[in-house]
Amino acid sequence: MLRNLLKRDDERTAATATATAARPSTRTRTIAPPVDIVEDDRALVLTADLPGVSQDGIDVTLDQGVLTLRGTRARQAHDGFQAVWREYEPADYERSFTLAEGIDRDAVSAVIRNGVLTLTLPKSKAAQPRRIAVTSA
């Protein structure tokens, strides 16, 4: 079956994160968002937490088997206020995955709602399990 449908490709993301950290702190840093990946017979569903990212700020590309998610956070203006307590630093998001064969690339759909991106990757017909009818001779 499609056990190895997704291979980890975090070396790419780690390299980007290191390069971003080396730059001066005026640039917003980029982090890898947490994801859930569920597979069933019909499709692979990837869910990612991207708080602060609007529909316009999302970029999902599938290029030669590599799925890349990029999210740019909408800047919250706090003019006239000063930061008094800071427990988190808003960041942009990026993460890549390598997909094995078997995805119907034309039927991939993405929805973002309340900062959660849901990516549905339907399996191509050939990759779906087929029930084989047994007849008695």
Binding site: D40, L50, G52, Q82, A83
Partner: protein, 151 residues
């Protein structure tokens, strides 16, 4: 919480403390994000000026019906539930998780603000998975400028 010279716990004791805090932030002082990143206490940022405060919190996938925000004196309390409902996956066929990094959790958190706030004039927005709460000081409680007369 910050501890000032007299050993008492206080979020914000004076303008000087605030400026020192900002100076630390600009110098690259790392906030304790790891300590507050666990599920039971989502990370909060607080912005304030003399008359008002704004509290922001990243809560993607929040169940808005479960959110309860309450204000008492100078304390803000947030309660709610974060869902990780599986949308788009079919019911038929066995499901297997390749990766599970997002947690579903209930949270409850109280935060002491630099001043008392007026609960009747509090506003909360939940957009793009970010909760923003705007709070105002009651008129009677605002800082007063005291004029100094020379004798």
């Amino acid at each position: 919480m910050f501890i000032n010279d007299s050993g008492m716990r206080s979020l914000w004791t004076s303008l000087q403390d605030m400026e020192r805090m900002l100076h630390d932030l600009h110098r690259g002082f790392e906030p304790a994000t790891a300590a507050f990143a666990d599920a039971a206490a989502p990370a909060l940022n607080v912005w304030a000026n003399e008359d008002a405060a704004v509290v922001t919190c990243d809560l993607p996938g929040l169940d808005p019906a479960s959110l309860a925000i309450s204000v008492t004196g100078d304390t803000l309390t947030l309660r709610g539930q974060r869902r990780t409902a599986d949308e788009g996956a079919d019911a038929d066929g066995g499901r297997s998780y390749h990766r599970r990094e997002r947690a579903q959790f209930e949270f409850s958190r109280s935060l002491q603000l630099p001043f008392r706030v007026d609960g009747d004039r509090a506003e909360a927005r939940y957009e793009l998975g970010v909760l923003t709460i705007a709070l105002r000081r009651p008129e009677s409680d605002k800082a007063r400028r005291i004029t100094v007369k020379s004798a």
